[in-house]
């Protein structure tokens, strides 16, 4: 499996996606810290600030990873390279799982790093450009750290859902739009939840639904003839 994941990495030329991710992080920093996420008066609290940063960062990387799905999976169908891939001495299931594992790993790591980067810079600059935030306690720091990890996992789960839609429609819009809509719909509840346990349960739900749908997506790829 590791070999198959490595071969996916060889095929995709990840540099472009990493550059896009870096650019996205810079824009997020400018928006969330420089422009205070569109609130001229600034954030009310650290918690509110972290919620906004998490929302914008996760939504951005949800879209970037959906684009990666179109590149790694849908392009194989659209450019018909799947006809080569499925003649190799590996089961279709393993080949598709390797692709999803690669995308998930990328999504999780990049979302995590991006969230930490933006949040860290926000905390570093908060004393100089934010008023009314009060003191940042160790408990708030720990809470924020755990939330960032859980949100990255949830983003990976939602990513599986976009894979499912992508596999059924075989079109980039069908892959990119659903996670964006999901992110918008759940944002007000998911990122503002007060209890870390609520976030944990929501994340597990996202992962379970995502994995189940991904399973159906893979099943479809395994069963269908390649025309």
């Amino acid at each position: 499996m590791i070999k198959l994941i490595r071969l996916e990495y060889k095929k995709v030329r990840l540099t472009r996606f990493l550059l896009i991710s870096v650019l996205a992080v810079v824009i997020l920093m400018l928006w969330c810290i420089g422009n205070k996420s569109g609130h001229p008066e600034g954030y009310d609290s650290y918690q509110a600030a972290f919620a906004e940063i998490n929302f914008y960062t996760n939504s951005t990387f949800l879209i970037i990873s959906s684009v990666l799905i179109t590149k790694i999976i849908l392009d194989e169908y659209r450019k018909k390279t799947i006809m080569i891939l499925f003649t190799y001495p590996h089961s279709r299931k393993r080949l598709m799982v390797a692709k999803l594992a690669f995308i998930s790993l990328f999504t999780f790591c990049v979302t995590l790093v991006a969230n930490f980067s933006v949040t860290s810079l926000f905390i570093f600059l908060a004393p100089t450009n934010q008023a009314n935030l009060g003191l940042l306690t160790n408990d708030q720091m720990l809470d924020s750290f755990l939330r960032i990890c859980l949100y990255a996992l949830a983003t990976t789960g939602i990513n599986f859902i976009s894979f499912f839609f992508g596999m059924f429609k075989k079109s980039p819009p069908a892959t990119i739009i659903p996670p964006f809509l999901i992110s918008l719909i759940i944002s007000s509840h998911f990122y503002q939840l007060y209890s870390i346990w609520d976030v944990l349960i929501s994340t597990i739900s996202c992962l379970v639904i995502g994995v189940l749908l991904a399973h159906y997506g893979i099943k479809k790829a395994v069963q269908l003839d390649v025309e």
Partner: protein, 307 residues
């Protein structure tokens, strides 16, 4: 000789229509099998079934004496293929595409990649992306990819598409060399008869999903090259004479006044004498030569020459 690939009552059904019906192929080890048929006859569908891209609706495919299933991965390592048209990861170079292929196939001899590129005369710079290749060059690269893992069975679907005459000749020589020197079995599909005629040891003719004929080139040459065309007054009466008096069975009534006799070693003098003596008027009697093209056209157009 050992059968390396065979199909038994192979069917494929799409939307209540059989696109492949009762196909029974037999490919012997080391031979070049020409799979001939017009566009849309079902050649690619059968090749896709052999490579596992499409599942048969019913019937069996046997490869290397083992039944081929969706999980016959060890068998797939022994097959090289170029199906439909050459498809690559276009942003990668020729070398990178072949390297990727070898890694997926579990074949780790990198010299084989340079050998395959040399054999197919791919002279493009090593790092040039495939998207800048011409169709002919992509076709060559597709063949290089198919042979670089040194497979025992090579499946090539219309391999000369997009090639210039010099390229076609080079490929023909390459296919012969792969078969004779490297012992590979080649299964080549084409709708171009002349190409198959130059290459194949055995020919399978397919039309509308049915295998009409499967026979060796030597059989074709010995059986169906010459015939006698007799223009006469009454075909019906002549048939009785030809069958009963001359014991000839291999003939065909073209129309009420024309008969083709395919039986070898029939004397024209004897034939005319016998017909005249039985009251059948002869307008003309000519020895004719059937080209392979005529022969296959007859098969494909439904007027199969009787055996």
């Amino acid at each position: 000789m050992q059968t390396i690939l065979s199909t038994n009552q192979l069917y494929k059904r799409y939307l209540d229509k059989n696109v492949i019906s009762d196909v029974n192929l037999n490919v012997q080890q080391g031979e070049i099998y020409g799979f001939l048929g017009p566009n849309g006859a079902g050649k690619t569908t059968i090749m896709k079934m052999i490579t596992g891209l499409i599942r048969p609706t019913s019937g069996q495919i046997t490869l290397f004496n083992q039944p081929s299933t969706t999980s016959s991965f060890e068998i797939r390592k022994r097959i090289g293929s170029l199906i439909e048209y050459p498809i690559f990861y276009e942003h990668l170079s020729a070398y990178e595409n072949l390297q990727l292929h070898c890694e997926y196939m579990g074949f780790y001899d990198h010299k084989a990649i340079t050998d395959a590129l040399e054999l197919t005369s791919i002279t493009e710079p090593r790092m040039k992306p495939v998207k800048h290749f011409s169709l002919g060059m992509k076709q060559r690269l597709g063949i290089a990819r198919a042979i670089c893992t040194r497979p025992e069975l090579l499946l090539l679907d219309e391999p000369i598409n997009g090639m210039d005459p010099v390229g076609i000749r080079e490929l023909r020589e390459l296919f012969h060399a792969l078969s004779k020197e490297h012992g590979m079995t080649l299964f080549i599909s084409s709708h171009i008869l002349q190409e198959i005629e130059h290459l194949a040891d055995t020919i399978g003719v397919i039309k509308e999903g049915r295998l009409l004929k499967e026979l060796s080139m030597s059989q074709i040459h010995s059986q169906h090259r010459d015939y006698i065309e007799v223009a006469l007054t009454d075909s019906k009466k002549a048939v009785a004479v030809i069958e009963r008096k001359l014991n000839i069975t291999n003939f065909k009534v073209i129309d009420p006044h024309l008969i083709h006799i395919y039986e070898p070693n029939v004397s024209s003098i004897e034939l005319s004498k016998c017909l005249i003596l039985n009251g059948i008027g002869i307008e003309s009697l000519n020895k004719k030569h059937v080209s392979l093209e005529d022969y296959f056209l007859q098969i494909i157009q439904g007027g199969a020459v009787s055996d």
